[in-house]
């Protein structure tokens, strides 16, 4: 059962922020400003707590020799390298050249390369779905094939026709489906958010 004090706090804060979003009033803005600053503090604290929790968990994995020791060493080593580079005496924090090098030479290429894995994994997932003979897979893969052909960056008259067709496909059929999804999601999410703000119903009981 939700604590009544917590429910009341959620209701008051939620209605205050909702009113500030709809109405321009200086007194209301000051109250809302107070709440927003508190929310920022909570978010900053949560971010620090997340980092500390990650370090503690990976450190605990190493200490107790459980889980993935290589991953734990890499995570803790990476965190230590960035913290030492940025916070050492004479360092420039996030703008320190050493931190910048680690971001540009290590983190960005690794992140981009792993993102590139999606090309392979999406194709593999498509093949598995089709092999399982799921109707939606046939539709998705067929449409994906047609869209990919339309996206071929060719020059000349053929390329111009393909580009026009790709634009039409994006704006009309694909755009229509996605707009429907977005409108449905937005309306349902608005109702769920209103329930949360008004303290109606618990998370799970």
């Amino acid at each position: 059962m939700r604590h009544p004090g917590l429910a009341a706090l959620v209701l008051v804060v939620g209605l205050l922020l909702l009113a500030d979003a709809l109405v321009v009033n200086s007194s209301l803005a000051e109250l809302a400003d107070l709440v927003v600053r508190a929310a920022i503090l909570v978010a900053a604290g949560a971010a620090l707590a997340g980092v500390a929790s990650l370090a503690l968990r990976r450190g605990g994995d190493l200490w107790r020799r459980r889980g993935d020791p290589v991953g734990a060493v890499l995570v803790i080593g990476g965190m230590a390298a960035v913290l030492v580079a940025g916070l050492r005496p004479g360092g420039e924090g996030a703008a320190d050249p050493a931190v910048g090098w680690m971001v540009a030479a290590l983190i960005v290429p690794i992140g981009a390369s792993l993102f590139g894995l999606l090309f392979v994994s999406t194709l593999a997932a498509s093949r598995r779905s089709v092999a399982a003979r799921r109707p939606e897979a046939y539709v998705l893969v067929g449409v994906a094939m047609v869209t990919l052909v339309l996206l071929l960056p060719l020059g000349g008259t053929v390329g111009a026709w393909l580009a026009d067709a790709a634009s039409w496909t994006l704006l009309v059929p694909i755009g229509a489906v996605l707009r429907g999804l977005l409108i449905g999601i937005a309306l349902v999410a608005a109702v769920v958010a209103a329930r949360t703000v008004l303290g109606i119903g618990g998370a799970d009981e």
């Binding site: 978010a43 971010a47 929790s53 409108i183 608005a190 799970d204």
Partner: protein
């Protein structure tokens, strides 16, 4: 000594001054739309509607089979709450999906508790981990299986929300049944691949529109778009859950009506509904 009439008059003047110094931030149209959502929801709550048709999207009502597989295999069931968390540096619509996933976690938790299957919940945010732990504990309490709760655990993997983090969040162990509910973005594909590797069943759900194809391809049972928010209404007899879906359905009906009428007026007489909302069309 002021009498009650003076006090009341003073209060009314004070409220009037405040209202006089106020102005609407948006045009009247968008303001009414925002208030309309609240009014429709409140109206339904005031008069709960009992007629309900269960659709069982995602096949979550048949979760017993997945738990039977897990019990037979002697492994656990894994539930991922997505990668948005509750207090991460991400937008509110993503974090709301983590909240929406908690009732589904509760449903899976109750099924797991009854079947004696240990549950492992994966999160990447300490606040979400706390909420998940409370939900699992509540599931064991409601099924009178508190003695089994020690076997279930919530795992916090805090690498973040990028593609490699989505992969890191999954486990190398092979659960018999895997579930992923919550916000999943570009990491969705690898995240679901990691969860589903070797799993006897995989069910996923996310309200990220752009990831709908990924969910449909990667998992046999998927909740896409608004279904993530609607699914709890099918799983519980809670009137409040169903009221929310009914309210949303009415709003969607109104939106469809507005789009249809606007389109007809636009084609027939050249009327542009955007003028009503003060939108300058480019």
């Amino acid at each position: 000594m002021s009498d009650p009439g003076d006090l009341l008059g003073g209060l009314i003047r004070f409220v009037g001054e405040i209202l006089g110094r106020s102005a609407l931030r948006f045009e009247i149209g968008p303001t009414l739309v925002v208030l309309g959502v609240l009014l429709v929801l409140l109206q339904l709550i005031a008069r709960p509607v009992s007629r309900w048709t269960t659709r069982d999207t995602g096949g979550l009502a048949g979760i017993g089979r997945a738990m039977a597989l897990a019990a037979e295999a002697g492994t656990d069931a894994v539930v991922s709450l997505g990668t948005a968390g509750l207090a991460r540096a991400t937008d509110a619509t993503a974090r709301l999906q983590t909240l929406a996933a908690l009732p589904l976690l509760g449903h899976v938790g109750r099924a797991a508790a009854r079947s004696g299957v240990p549950l492992r919940v994966l999160t990447n945010d300490p606040f979400a981990a706390a909420a998940a732990a409370a939900t699992v504990e509540s599931a064991h309490a409601s099924t009178a299986t508190r003695e089994r709760s020690v076997r279930s655990r919530t795992v916090f993997v805090g690498e973040g929300r990028s593609v490699p983090a989505g992969l890191a969040l999954t486990t190398t162990a092979r659960p018999a049944a895997a579930f992923a509910f919550g916000s999943l973005r570009e990491e969705a594909q690898l995240h679901l691949e990691g969860l589903g590797a070797g799993a006897g069943s995989l069910t996923s759900g996310s309200a990220e529109a752009a990831q709908s194809p990924t969910l449909l391809l990667a998992s046999p049972a998927a909740l896409i778009g608004p279904e993530l928010y609607q699914a709890p209404a099918d799983l519980r007899a809670d009137v409040v859950e169903r009221t929310a879906v009914l309210a949303a359905n009415r709003l969607i009906g109104l939106a469809v009506l507005a789009l249809a009428v606007g389109a007809i007026l636009g084609f027939a007489v050249g009327f542009d509904p955007a003028d009503l909302l003060g939108i300058e069309r480019r």
